[in-house]
Amino acid sequence: MQREGLILAYSPLRGQEAAQIGSGIALDLARDFAFPTYRELGVAVAMGVDLVGYLASYLGIWHGGLYDPMASRFGSINAVVSGSVLHAVGWAKGAQLSGDGGVAVTYFGDGASSEGEVHEAMNLAGIDKLPVVFFCQNNGWAISLAAERQIAGGTVAGRAAAYGIEGVQIDGNDVIAVLHATRQALARARAGDGPTVIEAMTYRAGPHSTSDDPGRYRSLDDEQKWLSRDPIASFAERLRAEGIADEQFFLAASAEAARAADAVRAGLAALGDRPGEELFDFVFANPTATLQEQKHAWQESTHD
């Protein structure tokens, strides 16, 4: 929890901290693999991903981020809605074939649930009982479209049954509930009992992105209602109420979070410019002559 202070700085995640931290900390970093979208900073924090490398994506430095997705077992940031859901299924097939006990966790939103690829993924996973967890953060909105207009039948979890797989809808703002549900799903997958759809009901407290204008499509009232269920405040309250943490703890946590945020800020500031060569360097593992010529032409052009 100490680290969560950090997340507050990143507005698009606001409201979904519990869903992300609660699920992310459940993964076994030695054998599981997470497939994020573009909104999983909280999962990245929970999985210990290099945050400077993660946030570099949002500074326009490198689309996929600068962290190593293979080493951190947290896939590259993926801007295509639902784009990596099938990868999780393929990865899970690999885990099943190799018997390594790994589980894939794929993150996607209420909006993404409309994409055909998500259906294809659940169907495939159901047929082969693949070790994969479909973690849907239903945050109520896909940019300006409300989840009610997105999801026929009302729930994403409810679709699981149709594919013969487990499905649960949980309070996504209760970090402990999220942790338990994710652990259960991981255990089920590891035991060979197949996939689970977890639909974590939460709320996108901020705008979709900095260029968004939520006032056009939802009311302040709406937003206020969810504020009262703020996942961080309510967890803090619970820790206090149950006597697990005192003010001392929260002060220390805040200080720790501030320090971490400072370190990330400093790291981002130190990143500097990307060398132009990087335009060319990662297109292929085994580059083509054409591309090498283009790189050469580009280099020449920078010397004018």
């Binding site: 326009g60 055909g116 940019i143 300006s144």
Partner: protein, 342 residues
Amino acid sequence: MTESKSTVSGTPATHVRMQGALNLALKHALAEDDRTLVFGEDVAKLGGVFRVTDGLQETFGIDRVFDSQLAEASIIGMAVGLALHGYRPIPEIQFDGFAYPAMNQIVTQMARMNYRTRGAAPMPITLRLPSFGGIRAPEFHGESLESVLAHVPGLKVVSPSSPNEAYQLLRQSIADPDPVVFMEPKARYWNKAEFDPHVPVSDYLPIGRSRAVRSGKHVTLIAWGAMVAKCLRAAELAEEDGVEIEVLDLRWLKPIDVAGLEESVSRTKRAVVVHEAPFSGGLGGEVSSIITERCFDSLRAPVQRVAGYDVPYPSGALEDQYLPSVNRILRAVQRVLEYRRG
């Protein structure tokens, strides 16, 4: 389906953004023909992520202007079905890169239905596709799909370079009985320019015609979308050195204005084609080949192509390195001017 024409006011500003010109074209099309429908992700209350559809739902109601679910194949599939029912759909795909999930419906259905049905089911669909780069956006928000789409039999493809072109070309696309992919250059949405929506339709250039946006006699620059402005800038700079560049806004990427290319280059005897898409397999090859096929004898130098590199459209930090710059364009102009047969 019951909006009257009077809901649209006919008093446009003389200077507007391309965004506004497009919005007005949609308004006029919706007002004129009850069968036109506008839909896509976030086009209704939000007015589109670029506000091109701003206010349309308020004016024309939720039956004529509505939000689609987050599923691009569905957006096109629904357009095809609505066209089969007699509607004239104007779907939007939010960003260029998200046309890929809809590619099956675009290529195998929308583009092919008139042919498959031997003309019984024309597809008067105008697919609006915010396109190209230059706005430092996330991955797949800066793609240039024109060569892919222009290769598809049954599609027409167009891209405007100014508010006037945007208005006229969108009206023409909507009026055309065939599916048109309308590629809006995102980087130009906010540029204001003189605008006159009252030009009589009879004065519009026909479908498939290019437009010389600057005339010159030493070399022809061919471009479309946001690259037209860059070419104009290059032409201004070249003028200082006494080089007179003709700039041809190709406008229609399918069909390409073969006669217009021939006319210009047979005069200037030199040509450079400029686009944002990756070099290899880009539409520059098509334009270059057409010119060479038609103007072989008059060409004083091989047509030059200035394009993006054969790399994924990069993140903001590298965007300027990727996009054709005024300098790269001018160097190519220099190459064709200085070319001497060996």
